[in-house]
Symmetry: C2
Subunit: 175 residues, 2 copies
């Protein structure tokens, strides 16, 4: 209630209410529809539903699987930042990120990964060796979430963590 009261003058409010529909919250399917229509991925394919779910999981602090207005605005800001980042990384302006472009970008973000792990990631998120914007976002969000999950348990910052099975699954199944 307080949310809608304070949001009345916000220029994104009417857009949000149109996307959210009757229940006043945005779920993964609604987000997919609105991102596909926005054309942000730069292709004619539907924006990845999986990426929508991953993004909602990242922001969804009250665990409803849906986004209220503030979460939606936060996501919009994050997506704009990812898009700028994506265009910077795509040095040869092919519209997609390739293996060497991703390697550089991941290094610049401060992750230190082995060549094998980088290969695994490229294989998983690329189509014929090319990573499209929506898959790039899924990749970056997962990389950050899994790294955060690992770090929160690496109390001594040693680079290794002793996981109990249930905790391991809880962190990795959700992402």
């Amino acid at each position: 209630y307080s949310d809608s009261y304070s949001s009345a003058g916000d220029p994104m409010w009417s857009y949000f209410t149109a996307v959210a529909g009757q229940d006043g919250e945005v779920d993964a399917e609604e987000l997919q529809r609105c991102l596909t229509e926005s054309g942000i991925s730069g292709t004619y394919s539907p924006f990845s539903l999986e990426t929508c779910r991953i993004m909602i999981a990242m922001l969804d602090r009250d665990y409803t699987g849906k986004m209220g207005f503030n979460e939606f605005k936060e996501l919009w800001a994050a997506l704009t930042a990812w898009k700028e980042n994506f265009m910077t990384i795509d040095r040869d302006r092919s519209g997609t990120v390739e293996h060497h472009e991703l390697s550089q970008s991941i290094a610049i973000m401060g992750y230190r990964l082995s060549p094998q792990t980088l290969n695994t990631i490229v294989r998983r998120y690329s189509k014929n060796g090319r990573i499209f914007f929506d898959d790039y976002v899924a990749c970056c969000v997962k990389l950050r979430a899994l790294t955060d999950f690992f770090r929160r348990r690496d109390h001594l910052q040693q680079g290794f963590v002793n996981f109990v099975y249930d905790d391991f699954l809880q962190g990795t199944m959700a992402i």
Copy 2:
């Protein structure tokens, strides 16, 4: 070459070649199209692309991101088994699996998970509390792959594993 030679008399061979197209291998998009048309999920929505990717990653021993004929047959058999399993679990015949149905099924499969981890999983794979067939498959395949990954490192079967960061990421980003 030997693959096509031995497959000539197989009734699935012509179906496979139709799905695979010119390159003679099935990628995630082709698999999605064929599963959507097959109607296996029992809904009018497209079969989840993410589930297709997860299934291919599971079977893809030569790491090409595509499936040859033998991998395709293996996947078809696995899917048929998942579908039977799904219909058994769906006790109230709602067409979807709900929280209590999933809990029972996961326990029967032999996984011991805490209530919090079960909640996390249901939240991640359900839409309005209902888990559809394609998301159910993604959930089961991931659960199995992550458990296998954990077990292979749990040499003493103690239920906990000391992970190095890079190895942790390699296993969890791929799935």
